[in-house]
Point group: C2
Chain length 329, copies 2
C-alpha cells in the first residue's frame, strides 16, 4: 500500500476525485482551479478552498500576519486566474495551543488585510485547536459563464503569455531557507516575493473581458507545472521561445552559480497568470494588459523550450505537497 | 498575555471579528451560523466553513470514512439550521504523513457519502500535509432572504422547541472515551449518535417555509449553549418547562449514577435544531414538523428551567474548542 509521501499531492487528488460523484451539469469540471454552481442568467457562483499549513507553506521568517494574508491571497489568485473577482471569504483556523491573544490578533489582521487589498471581505469562519497553524480559506465570487477562463481551451497556434517575470520566489526561498546571501536591495526584493505574494486581480478581470483568452491558470505550483497542467487539460503542448526569467533571478543565479532557468521554471508560490491567447486578438489584448509573450501552443503534447535551433524539454515538475518540502525547495 | 487555552474558542472568535472590516449591507451579521452574499431578487449565496481536526473532533473509534462524513454533516447542519438546502461543498484536507492510499480512499468516500445523503455534491478541494488529520469543508447553498432563520429574532412569548431528544451523544462519548458500559442495544444507539451524526435537512427547510420561526440554531455545541446563543443574539431569555431528555440517556444515567439533566443540557455534537416559534402558528407548524415543545421565550435575559415551583438556572456551558477536550467530555 502506497504512503501519501510516495503518492504525492497530485495522485492523492486523483484518488479523491475518483470517489466523488460529479454534480450533473457541473459548470466547471473537477480539477480546474475553482468550482462553480450555476445561478442561471449566465451567472455562476464560483467557489474555491485552499489550505495553508505552517509546516509546509510558511517559511520561518514569515510573520503570522503575512501567513494569514497569504492564505487569503492564494485563494483569491485562483478566482482571479479564472477572471472572477472575489467578493467574500471565510477562514477556518487551526490554532496551536501555544498561541496567545496577540498571535490571534495578527492572524485576524492579516486575513482582513489580504481580503481588503482585493476589495473583498472576510465574512466569518471557525477556529479549532490543531498541532500546526492551519488556515483554510474559502473564497466566493460571481462569474460570467461565457467569460470564464478555464484550463481546457488552449488551441494550437495560440500565443502563450505570462503577467510577469519568474524566478524571484525560488531565489527568495533559497535566501530564507538555505541562508544564501544577496546584496540588501536584491535580497529585499527576492524575499518580499515570498513573504508578500500578490494576486493579479486587475489583469485577470481585464483579460476575461477581452474574450481573447483560451485558457488560464495561476502559477502557484511553478511555471513549468502550470504549462503542463494546461497541456493536459487542453490536450495540447507548448513551445517556448522566450523564457521570462526575472533580472533579479539572473543576478542571484550568477552570484551563487545557480541555473536561472531552473529558478524560473521550477519554482512555485508565484501568483502570476499563465494564459493562452487567440493570435488575432494578441495586439488588442497586449494593449490592455501588460503581458510577456513566451511562446506558442502546439498540437504535439510536449512542453518544450527552443534556444536557437536546439529544443529542450520542460519537465512536469513543480511545487507539490508531500513530495516537495519547504526545506528542500 | 492570555494563551488560547485561557481565552477559549468563543473569545478567540470575538477577537478575530473585531479585526475584520464588515462588508457593507452584509445580509447576515458576524457570529450567526452562516455567512451570505446578496445575489439580488431576494436570493442569497449562503456559505459556511467548519473545520474538523482529528485530535479534538474525532474519537478513536470513529473511522476515517465516518470522520470525513462528519466533516460534511457539521457544515450542512449549519445551512440547514438557517433553512437553506446545501447544494455543493468543497473540502480542504490536511493529511498526516503516515496515511496511505486506502486511508485517502476512505476519506474521499466519506466526503461523498455525507454530501449525497443531503442531495449535495463535493465539487472540489485541496490536500496538504499536516500533523493532524484536518478536514475543512466549505458548504454553499442558495437561500431566500425573507425565509432565512437567523439567531436574532426570538420574541418574548415565543415557543421554544427542538427536533429531537437530547443526551445520547454525551452518553455515547462516555462509552467511547471513558469505557463506560451499556447493554448492547443501548450502547449501539448511543455510540451511533456520536459516530453517525445527522443534520435535520427536511425539518430545517420545512420550518423555514412556514414563516413561523423567529430564530434558529443547530445544537452542535449543546442544548444549553444553543439557548444562550439565541438569548444573546435575540436579547431575550428562556424558561424551559420540559427538558427533552432522551429515554436512552435516562437509562444510561441510571445505570451509572449520572445526572440525565447534565447529559441533556451540556453535551454537544448533536445536530438537532433549536427554534423559537410564533405562538399563534405553533399548531400549524407542529403538524408539519415533528417538534418537542420545551418552553417559552422570556423578556428577562436569563435561561432557566422550571420544575414544579422551583426554578434553576441553565449554565452557559457547552462544547468549546481549546477549553473542552474529547478526553474530558
Amino acid at each position: 500500500m502506497k504512503s501519501v509521501k510516495e503518492l504525492g499531492e497530485r495522485r492523492i487528488i486523483d484518488i479523491i476525485l475518483k470517489h466523488l460523484e460529479p454534480m450533473p451539469n457541473m459548470p466547471i469540471h473537477f480539477g480546474d482551479d475553482v468550482s462553480a454552481v450555476d445561478l442561471g442568467r449566465g451567472k455562476l457562483a464560483v467557489i474555491k478552498t485552499d489550505m495553508l499549513v505552517s509546516k509546509t507553506d510558511v517559511p520561518p521568517q514569515m510573520s503570522l500576519w503575512q501567513a494569514a494574508r497569504k492564505a487569503v491571497v492564494m485563494n483569491i489568485s485562483d478566482l482571479v486566474a479564472k477572471g472572477v473577482k472575489p467578493i467574500a471569504l471565510l477562514a477556518s483556523i487551526g490554532v496551536p495551543r501555544g498561541f496567545n491573544q496577540k498571535d490571534i490578533e495578527r492572524i485576524a489582521a492579516g486575513l482582513n488585510a489580504g481580503a481588503r487589498e482585493y476589495d473583498a471581505y472576510i465574512l466569518g469562519g471557525d477556529t479549532n485547536e490543531a498541532s500546526d497553524l492551519v488556515i483554510s480559506c474559502a473564497a466566493f465570487g460571481i462569474g460570467e459563464k461565457n467569460r470564464l477562463m478555464l484550463r481546457g481551451g488552449a488551441k494550437p497556434g495560440d500565443i502563450v503569455a505570462v503577467t510577469d517575470f519568474f524566478g524571484n520566489t525560488a531565489a527568495g526561498l533559497k535566501i530564507l531557507l538555505k541562508s544564501l546571501s544577496a546584496p540588501s536591495q536584491l535580497k529585499k526584493k527576492l524575499v518580499d516575493s515570498v513573504l508578500m505574494p500578490r494576486a493579479r486581480l486587475n489583469e485577470g478581470f481585464t483579460l476575461a473581458q477581452t474574450g481573447a483568452v483560451t485558457s488560464s491558470i495561476d502559477s502557484s505550483d511553478g511555471l513549468a507545472w502550470s504549462l503542463h497542467e494546461i497541456s493536459v487539460a487542453s490536450n495540447v503542448g507548448f513551445i517556448l521561445s522566450n523564457l521570462p526569467i526575472s533580472e533579479e533571478a539572473k543576478k542571484f543565479a550568477n552570484l551563487h552559480g545557480l541555473d536561472a532557468v531552473e529558478l524560473c521554471l521550477y519554482g512555485g508560490e508565484e501568483y502570476e497568470l499563465v494564459v493562452t491567447i487567440k493570435p488575432r486578438l494578441w495586439k488588442t489584448v497586449s494593449k490592455k494588459v501588460s503581458l510577456i509573450r513566451i511562446g506558442r501552443v502546439t498540437k504535439e503534447k510536449t512542453v518544450m523550450f527552443k534556444v536557437g535551433k536546439k529544443v529542450f524539454p520542460i519537465r512536469a515538475q513543480g511545487w507539490e505537497h508531500f513530495k516537495t518540502n519547504l526545506s528542500n525547495s
